[in-house]
Each structure stands twice: as C-alpha cells, then as structure tokens.
Amino acid sequence: MKFVGLILKSARRSKRRTALTMISVALAVFLFSALRAVLDGFDAVSAASSSTRLVTIRSTSMIFSMPTSHAEMIKSTPDVQDITWANWFGGIYKDPKNFFGQFAVDPESYLRMYPEIVLTDADRQAFLADRTGCIVGDGLAKKHGFKVGDKLTLQVGIPVYGSRDFDFNIRGIYKANGAAVDNQSMMFHWKYADERSTPKGQIGWVVTKIGNPDRATQVASEIDAKFANSPNETKTQTEQAFSASFASMLGNLNLLLGSVALAVVLTTLFVAGNTMAMSVRERTTEIAVMRTLGFPAATIFVLVVGEGLVVSLIGGAAGAALARIIVNGESLGLTGGFIPAFGVNNGNVVVGIGLSLLIGLLAAVIPATMASQLKIVDALRRVA
C-alpha cells in the first residue's frame, strides 16, 4: 500500500498520455458493456419466458393461420388449464418505418394468460368494454406520444384484412412486468379484425397454460397429435423455445457481437500496452536509480503493473458508468419489434470493470518485466 503515492505520481508524469489512455479504455469498456447488454436482452427474453406456457403455431410456418376450432380442441387436452389466441396484424402506423408489434387478441383470456401485462382496473374494464379499443405499452406510448383516449389509425399491411384503415381508441397504457412481454406493442380485440378478415375465424397462434412444466413435452405432442394429417398441422413448443427461435433468426448474434468485442479489447490492449511501454522507457534511468538504492526487482514489477491497473481501472470505471447512464432502452428508444428491450445493468458494469483490470494487467506485464529485468549499469549509462 505504501507505494500507492508513487504509482499515482508516475501516472501523472505525462498527464496527456495518461488521459488519452484512460479515455481509450473507457471507450472500450463502454462499447463492451453495451454489446453485452444487447446479448443479455435476448437472453432475458428466453429466460423470462414461461415454461408453463406453450405456443402452438402451424407447422408450416407461423405466417399461416388456423381456424378457431383448433383453440377449442386444444382446450380439451388433458392438463391444459387455460388457453388464449392471437393474430399478427402487421398494420402500418403512418409510415412503415414506425414498425411495432400489433396483436389481435382475445382480450379477456389474453390478459389472464399474461399477468405480465399490468393495467389499472379502470383501464382494463374500459379496454374490455370497447370493441375498437386497444392497449399500448408504455414504451410505445412514450415514443409516439399516445395518451389514453387518443385515436390510433392503422393502415392495413396484410391483404386478408381488406383495404380500409382500422381506427382504434386507446383505452389503456400497460406496463410490462418481466421480459416475456415487451412494452413496445399494441393489443386489440381479435373480433374487430376478424369482422373484416377474409377468410373469417382465423387465428395465428394459440397459447396454452399447463399446470405442470415437467409435462410440457407430452402435452405439446398430444396437442400436435390431434391435428396430425389435417390440412392445418400444428407445432407446439414451450414459450421459451419459441422465443429462442426468434432470436436465432436474427443471425448468429453471439458470434458477431463476440468477435467485435474481442477486436475492441485487442485494440485497447495495443493502445494501453504501447503507453505503458513508453512510460517505462522514459523512466529507464529513474528505475535504474531505484534499483541502485535497493528496491528489489519485484517491487519495480509491482509498481509498473500497479500503474497499468490504476490507469485502466479509472478509465474502465468511467466507461462502465457512462454506459450505465446512456445505454438503456428508454433513453435510446431503440427497442420494439424483434429487438428486445436492453440496458446496461450492474452486472454488465462489474464485468466491464473486470475487463479494464484485465486490460491494465496484460498491457503492463511486458513493460513491467522489461523494467524489473533492467541491467542497472547499462541503464545508468544510457542517455534518455
């Protein structure tokens, strides 16, 4: 501990250089934490997805629908406690760029199925009572400035719903409690869309609640067996598997973001390592004098490594703190649709700071070895 003062003193030797290195490390940790947060966002969705909820879609692909009679048949499967269904509406709000999820749902059973959708009692009643009512997530409401009581008009995006625009009344703004439901979507009465749909009575997917998660696979195959060899064969998965397959469609995110993160760390390592080497080289004479005075080689090694650690730790902490403040779904407004809400959490901050320590350590090891193995005579003889 007694060398802390000396370490700080040598870090201040070239203020500009130390500052630049700190900022480099800060940026790297910032970038790393942000990338980590995106990946965590995807993982959080599958982790928060329930394993007592099953999703049944058409086996061909989820863009195909099935008749409502399927829902009734699924309901009669043993172990099934509750069902609901929904349809993807795919409408356009003013401009196709304003993409957000719009679901035509059976309101009562849907809200029962997803307790994650938090609504006040008054809003819930108002939504259930109004055939053209809809509810929107608080994230979406914030983005477009929706208020309860506003009118919301969607152009039809999928031809089965005819060509006339749909008008909705916003009856409630819901909060999402848990990552299984995102706060950037809109839900409305399935009946309203069905009235104008050709063919009628079509549903996109059925969500089933089962009592015992251990029986999920059996129940799923029992459901699928009911529709085998019918024109509308189904595929049933747990909600978890279903959301994981969505994330995998975006491409191999882990690999892409992982290699970018690696490049970030390597770049910073080169920058920081270079600085440490420079700083040691400048102090060659000084170090030789210290060795002459009796400082052991190990102490010199610790001093240089300590300097590396201090510089990158300060930078890393700044970068992680910055990421914590700037990178969250709300301030960026990036989320919606298939990119789940993400934000840098305390765990990411800790990993980021740990990473900066690693960078500091690795960057300092070679210069520190050089410094501690210095031949005193040569070093003293050398002119800066």
Binding site: R17, L27, T60, S61, A263, F270, V271
Partner: protein, 388 residues
Amino acid sequence: MGLIASYNLRSMTVRKGTAAMTAMGIAMVVAVFVMTMAIAQGFNGALVASGSNENAILLRKGATSETVSGVLRTQLPLIQAMPQVARAGDGHPMASPELVVIIALPRASDDQPANVPARGVGPLAFEIRNTLTFVEGRRFTPGTREINVGKQATVRFKGLTMGSDVKFGSAMWKVVGVFTDNDASFESEVWGDVDLMMPAFQRDGYQSVTLKLTDPSAFESLAAAVEADPRLDLKAYPERDYYQGQSETTGTLIRVFATFVTAILSIGAVFGAVNTMYAAVAYRTREIGTLRALGFSRSRIVSAFLVESIALAVIGGVIGCFLALPVHGLSTGAMNMTSFSELAFKFRITPGLLVNGLIFSAVMGAVGGLLPAIRAARIPVARALREI
C-alpha cells in the same frame, strides 16, 4: 519534402515496438470496419443481384414486399397481353405469376427451425431470370410436385439435397435440381410450380408478377399502362429498384451498427497514434531543432510528421485489410426484415471497400498526427538544441 519524408520514415524503424503496436491498433479497427461493412455489402449484394434492368415486377398498390402483396388470377392475362412484355420463341408472353410463402425447415447448423421462402413460379421463370444456372439436376416439370432449390438453401437447411423428398404445405415435393444465381437472394429459396403451390398453401391468388420487358426503356410505358388500367390495382417497379428497396431495412441496421462500433473503436486507435507521435516528437526534439536550424520551415516540419503518422496508420490499414480478407466469401445468414425469412449471403469484400479501409486508416493517422506535428514545429530552436 523528399528529404524530410525519408528522414521521418527511417526514424519510424528506430522504435519498432511502439510503431508496431500503434499500427496494430489501427489494423484492428480497419479489420473490424472492413468485416462489418462486408456483411452489409454481402446482404445488399444478394438482393441487388436478384434484380435485373430488363425485368419489371408488379405488386398490389401500397404493398411493400411480395409477402404482403396480392395479384388476382384474372389480372394475369391482362398483364400478359401488354405489348411491353417480351415474347419467348414460341410466342408465349414472358411473365411469371409468383407466390412466395414462408416454410419452416430445420437449419443444418443448429437444427433450429428457420424461415425459408418457397416461391411458386410460372413456366417461363427461368427464361426471365436468365442469369440463373443449374449446378445439379434439371428444372422442375410444370404440373408435377417437383422443386428446384437454391445452392445456399441446400447447404443451410436440412433435407433439401438433390433427390430428397420434402414435406411442406399439404404435400410431398421432390428436389430435382439445384441452381445458382451470382449469390442472389434466389439462392436461399425453394422454387416450384405456382399452380401446385397455390392449392398446397390454400391460396387462391398470386402475389406478384415478374416479367421481361421488350426493352429496358419500355418500363415507363408499362408503368403508365398498369396505372391507367382500372382493372389492375397494381403498381410496376423496375425489378432492380424493388430488390434494392428490400435490402434497405436490414442493410441500414447493419451499417448503423458497423459505423457505431468502428467510430468508437477508431477514437481509441487515434489516441494510440497521438501518444506514439507525441513520444516520437519528444525523443527527437534535438533532431527537430537541428532541422529547423538548417533552415527547414515550420510547415515542412508539420507536413513531415503528418506524413510519418499517416504512413504508420496506412501500414496498419494494410495489415487490417489482410486480417479481414479471410472472411471474404464466407456465407452466413440474417433475417430479412421485410419478408421475415432467412436470407443467406456471403461476406463481400470489394476492392472499393479495401480502398475505403485504407482511406479510413489514413484519416486516423492524420487526425492522430496533427497535434504532435504542430508541437514539433513550435519547438523553439535554441532550447531544442540545448536539450540532451
């Protein structure tokens, strides 16, 4: 200029370690830049290659992609009768009514279901897309449940190899041919007879019509004719523009991501260059004083140190380009946001992209070297000469 540049360039080799580290920092940034941009280019390229100047595509008015479009059966003869549509040798109009549905097939890499576009095409589709060539087998015979599969699709998804039977819709289909098309998005698709695909997927209409124009210049009159006919609620697009538009959402997303990452990374690398150049200037204070005493002007000192910094960065840039090169041609997949299906494409590193990477590295070198170069020029001669 010549003298001073050669002095600076030779000085670089004196401190190899530092110079190498700085160059490597810049190399990493350039490598990341080139690789991420290669993804964007590959994705874009796959869709642009699908479009031809000689073709036009007709979609329902207001539809942004084939998946949300619809063309009635009764509209097809009206389109085929238009004089702007080229005729095949036997006089048949070269217009292919098409239907694209998304089917789920397990991915070869992880067995997860992926969305694969299955395209029902008319009998003359292969004449209209004349860049498409078969690597294996033959075309499907119209009227049978035979299909052709794009090269990328056979590799990426299970059960699509030559000769295998695939179940989708409500029927079994036999793969009788594998085709390629200059890495175009069609290579990720499965093609079959549209008249059999429609009942298999319970559709009673087409989604789009792709036709060959008698001449690329005939597009304007075709678009006007389609617009004027009240029986057609359709709009004609040049095929190339249509596919270019399809790549926009995902392409932009990738590009924004690439820019964001490289911008942040490059700041770090520039700082590395700044440190190195300041150190270089500090070490050579005496030499700089001598040069000034010999009569070299300030501006020449500035330009000389700038050249040194840029040279260092460009060396890094070249290394970065070489680091990135191995990914060229690797194939990968990403979701096409407009069709919700998986599109396979290859990383595409073009000479233009490499040049951009080098320019980028030179800019980083210039930015990093500017302040240290100015510092070098401002050194008072007398003090510099006195320094040890």
